[in-house]
């Protein structure tokens, strides 16, 4: 039986065949979900899908696009927002 800390369903179970010919189960964390646009919920480009250490090693500019709303809105939503703000401020 797996030890109690390994019974959580947030761990994924992998069947591994060892060089000795035995089959063992390995437990590993699941991958993160892709970042989504805050408005249209489409997956964002330019934002890597990585867990703790994978993200911590990256520099700030490697984790999001270099533009306003980068990492928050997709390109089409951000363009719409910029136009909307310009038109509103002109009134």
């Amino acid at each position: 039986m797996p030890r109690r800390s390994q019974r959580s369903r947030s761990l994924r179970r992998l069947r591994i065949k060892t060089p000795g010919g035995r089959s063992v189960t390995h437990f590993s964390r699941r991958k993160n979900a892709a970042a989504k646009c805050a408005v249209c919920k489409k997956p964002l480009h330019g934002v890597p899908i990585a867990r703790d250490a994978g993200m911590a090693k990256l520099s700030k500019s490697e984790k999001r696009p270099e533009r306003p709303f980068g990492g928050n809105l997709c390109s089409s939503c951000s363009r719409r927002e910029i136009k909307r703000r310009l038109i509103e401020s002109a009134q």
Binding site: R79, I82, K83, A90
Partner: protein, 163 residues
């Protein structure tokens, strides 16, 4: 709509959300030459697809392919930034505008002093290590010489060459 002197806002790319002026029409289809100018709005002088520009109701009087200085003067003359109510300051101004509090300055000075002290400590360590190595070497050489005095002259010649 995108005539020379029309003030637009870039909607796409790194410079999105910043104002620019149309200077000239490019030979390429759909492209115009724009500039901030860079000192005023941080938009570089380059071509841009008009589909990535949003025109504003403002237009300034400039000649085709005007220099950045002339355009900056026109900005002031027509009072563009105030009319459009858009804050576009340069990065340098933004740095200057940050208030340097006394506490922050003290912290900075402390850090500098610590850095200097660490450097001095490292130098001392290096000196000591070098000294020790030097002494070690000299001691070894002494021993060698005592052993090898009895040997024939060839080795001495070799040693002299080495030294």
């Amino acid at each position: 709509m995108f005539e020379i002197g029309r003030i637009c806002m870039k909607t796409a790319g790194r410079e999105a959300g910043r104002l620019c002026v149309v200077i000239a029409k490019e030979k390429e289809k759909d492209f115009v030459l724009i500039t901030g100018p860079k000192a005023v709005t941080r938009v570089k002088r380059r071509k841009c697809n008009f589909r990535h520009l949003e025109p504003t109701p403002l237009k300034i009087e400039i000649k085709e392919n005007a220099t950045d200085e002339e355009i900056a003067a026109a900005y002031e003359k027509f009072d563009v930034l105030k009319k459009l109510n858009v804050r576009t300051i340069t990065a340098g101004e933004a740095k200057e505008a940050k208030p340097k509090t006394e506490e922050a300055e003290e912290r900075r000075e402390e850090k500098k002093e610590e850095h200097k002290k660490e450097e001095k400590r490292e130098e001392k360590h290096e000196h000591k290590a070098e000294h020790e190595k030097h002494e070690h070497k000299e001691a070894k050489e002494h021993e060698h010489k005592e052993h090898k005095e009895a040997k024939p002259k060839k080795t001495r010649a070799k040693k002299e060459k080495k030294e």
